[in-house]
Amino acid sequence: MRVLDQPPRFLFFTGKGGVGKTSIACATAVQLAADGKQVLLVSTDPASNVGQVFGIAIGNHITAIPAVPKLSALEIDPQGAAQAYRDRIVGPVRGVLPEAVVKGIEEQLSGACTTEIAAFDEFTALLIESPLTADFDHIIFDTAPTGHTIRLLQLPGAWSGFLEAGKGDASCLGPLAGLEKQRVQYKAAVDALANPLRTRLVLVARAQSATLREVARTHEELAAIGLSQQYLIINGQLPQSAIEQDELAAAIAQREQLALAAMPAVLQSLPIDYVALKPFNLVGQDALRLLLVDDNPATEQVTLPPAVLLSAPSLSALVDDIAADGHGLVMLMGKGGVGKTTLAAAVAVELAHRGLPVHLTTSDPAAHLTETLEGSLPDLAVSRIDPHDETERYRQEVMASKGARLDAAGRALLEEDLRSPCTEEIAVFQAFSRTIREAGKKFVVMDTAPTGHTLLLLDATGAYHREVSRQMGSKGLHFTTPMMQLQDPKQTKVLIATLAETTPVLEAVNLQQDLRRAGIEPWAWVINNSVAASRPGAALLRQRAQNELKEIDAVATHHATRHAVVPLLKQEPIGVERLLQLANPADKARRPL
């Protein structure tokens, strides 16, 4: 493992949910401890199972792991940290100011930025010289702050006249308001991050083109602010030995090879490690040690697990219910990489196949999916917006109009505000909103939507209208705000897209809570790329299918009012035929098991 070669004091593992950051961070920690180093492992994974992995309760304080000499661990709960942060600001006025006002303030502090800043606040102390951590040779984090957060903390404008003077100014940052520590501490922490002698950033990805594209973006963003010492780990690769005679396994392996061959150039020059998919659960230090071992002989000794018999509703069955309304807006929501664009296309094709007029509009960065559908079905119209272009246009508009009168520090701050994830969300949603109006007559299917938090902030006027209408009673006043359209299940159906894995499901649960806060009840969940639904023959894939069942069951029984499971296909689901197959797996002749 190149990543273990002369590691500096701080190691950060970053990547999207479900790629295995936490497992790899654990394995790295176990390995370094075995080499005789004192190691502290810090997990901010909301699904943190570090305690479970080592068979001990950990929590929010440094805890020695009895089973692994020289290893200690600490769990930071980002949601809990954000709640504590909100309480510091809102707590003193709860019950003093009107309830609606308090709620408004809380919403302002409920975004993803606040959660991230709060988590960063928690681990700042670990990055600076302190007796607390003096004994550790290595501190390993299973997460890393985003470029946006680091840049904010680096901007003098974000701090000026704020923490120092103790007095706010409209030109200082909301999310920084509840920070407790001194500015010098944040500066020291950011400096430690940007110092290649002290910090190594490890990008964790899967051998999938979408994931690799996203990782390349993270790489460039973080390199630009000084985190130049970066490594790449391709996790969960299907080993050649696992293919056996299984067509699906062979197809997956081939797809992975293609994705790796087409890896963005900026990643190819990094030191890269490949970690094979393992047939065992990553619990206990023995399993973790084996994770980073290349050729694991145990792989071949695994007995063939029984075939998984999953009976779950298909996407086509969900579309039956959607089609019944004759028109409306369908929005696919979920974290990046779960296949929202593909699922949106599958829903649109299913609807058009039934002779219903559909407009599919996507933010598909690769464009190939959208292009292949253009003109393929008479009732299907396809359009695409480029999120990057839309965001850039929005930024320039704002800088030209609103930034014109600001001084240099003010402009820098405005520019950074405009690089926040919320800005992209808003810019894309604005671009989509032109199409949304068509949903009164036909179906409009979108592969993205703003989060509940953003909607609530955008709906400030809508809330006011509702208040007015309440006071006026039911008579008079006919109006709808965009928010009211999204809240009405007759007009809008939100489908949550996820994968049958722990972290993606947990992220989807958080998304659902966020939407509910905005009064939007997700209509259904769609579990994408399910190996269990593909009925694999190879042992390693059957093992994975087995692991999926627990997650699928949790979605079906706890999280979703309706759901569908979409199989992992042998070929990329591009074109009408394959998209129909995605939604109707049962129509295809099943391979004998």
Binding site: V101, G174, G403, L406, S420
Partner: protein, 119 residues
Amino acid sequence: MKTIQIFDPALCCSTGVCGVDIDQALVNFSADVDWARQNGAQIERFNLAQQPLAFADNAVVKGFLERSGQEGLPLVLVDGEVAMAGRYPTRKELAHWAGIIEIATSQSTGSCCSGSSCC
């Protein structure tokens, strides 16, 4: 010297970029505040999302919030008394309260607009 206090509504980011449309009045007002401060005015600003305690501790502001809600903000106090609500003051109004003599302004009406479209 009179003290001017401005109680802003809850703003997520510095400029309200998170809103659908950025409030140009807010951006202009920030520039006007800078100008007035440079000319010796004493101006304090409080953001509801960041310093809610400043709102709760001031009986006038607290009462205003109870009556009008946060939709009624911004609220401007001059020496502790309500001078304006529901919109941001203009540079001229700030100058008037702070006693700054603006060059090349006739300032014919002693108290500037409280109504719709003036200044």
